[in-house]
Point group: C2
């Protein structure tokens, strides 16, 4: 009988056992939100495995969304997920202020540009149409959570970029230009966080995240805004109300 793995542990890999052990501490609350997980070297010593194996375990916990890492600082327990209601997209920034969630918006870039083929199609304008483009970084409870880039048809809101963009632009468009968001087409997909996005979100690259694209239309059904959000996938969930059209 070679290599008796014996009775107790029939096969479960070592690193899996470590994952289970630490996961248990997280879900049971022994390790509260944002608490530091033991480091790779500590886990290795504690469980008598090599650092690479400890690392595999910690990476798995990360991949499962139970923890996040900060480069060369450590790994920490993920906070509860934020729920983003895509049926109520408009008021995301607006509502956050009222619900007491600590939302901070950082403006990364703003400029006017011209619609390429994809944007032109989404916004039902000609290629080359002038658009306002701005990219913002959203932090919830002082944790960077998503990057959003929006493209707005400039013709309908001249001077938009002169306003303070660290607020709900939907409200801005309503207040100053009388444009009311009425319907939206939303697409959600899982994809990898690109290196530059990862840097902004404070993540190691090659991690999976959520991409959310939305086209926002006014009361006449005319699209005026196309946005793309990249979320840290473990920090959010998305809810929608579906009405079956038969």
């Amino acid at each position: 009988m070679p290599r008796t793995r014996s009775q107790a542990a029939p096969s479960l890999p070592r690193f899996r056992q470590i994952v289970d052990s630490i996961s248990h501490d997280i879900v049971s609350g022994v390790l509260p939100e944002h608490a530091a997980l033991p480091s790779e070297r500590v886990v290795a010593d504690l469980h008598g495995v090599s650092r690479m194996t400890a690392r595999r375990a910690l990476e798995a916990i990360e991949a499962e969304g139970l923890a996040y890492s900060e480069d060369r600082k450590g790994r920490f327990v993920s906070p509860k997920r934020v729920r983003y209601d895509i049926s109520n997209q408009v008021s995301f920034a607006a509502r956050a202020g009222s619900t007491g969630a600590d939302l901070a918006i950082l403006l990364l870039r703003k400029h006017t540009t011209q619609a390429d083929a994809k944007l032109a199609a989404a916004l039902a304008v000609s290629v080359g149409e002038t658009l306002h483009e701005y990219t913002r970084l959203f932090s919830i409870d002082s944790h960077t959570t998503l990057i959003e880039t929006e493209f707005v048809v400039a013709r309908r809101c001249p001077g938009l970029l002169n306003y303070d963009l660290r607020q709900s632009t939907t409200l801005l468009l309503e207040k100053h230009y009388g444009i009311l968001a009425r319907t939206g087409d939303v697409v959600i997909r899982m994809r990898a966080i690109l290196p530059d996005e990862a840097a902004l979100l404070g993540l190691p690259p090659h991690h999976a995240g959520i991409e959310l694209e939305q086209t926002i239309r006014d009361e006449a059904g005319v699209p005026f805004c196309f946005g793309r959000q990249v979320w840290r996938g473990e920090l959010a969930e998305f809810s929608a109300q579906a009405i079956v059209n038969r």
Copy 2:
């Protein structure tokens, strides 16, 4: 000439360069859908790195959704994403048949059970209420794509489990019990694929995927079905029509 990182590549990690190289072959179409990627050992030789480094690169490509792996068979180029319209949830199985997409449904489990607290809340019934439960595996174009478990209030559809469940149960409920799906509450989140789910989906464990939970209500707004789907995240995207209620 020893290990010249030289001018061109100032710092970009080796495995990152390999990722870029292979990614390029995928997006440019040199490697078509479902084509086999070079194996870990081949990549290692080709790029003159150790197998572990080659592995890191291939895992990164996988994490980015460009490829999927099959245990001990190899890694393969991911096919185009399937779009799942959550506003049209009902007809998923029904529509697939008509759109020519090759959809296969495998029944994994079926039994009647009792509502726990969470299910009772979702379905607006008492704890202990009898429910029909069944789990099905969906394959699209002969690739396992999602696992779905649904809970249906048994009182409203006695004998449901006796029908062939390898079809749209929404249509089944409509035809035999007169229950019409009218609205649904949907939640989408990214989370890790659990080991047993991974086995069913033919994936290595600890990978991120998409969980979609939905409560389906009839014309009176009464919930009758709660479902949970676990998707291979790189194979799907989810679309919704949002109507802003102000």
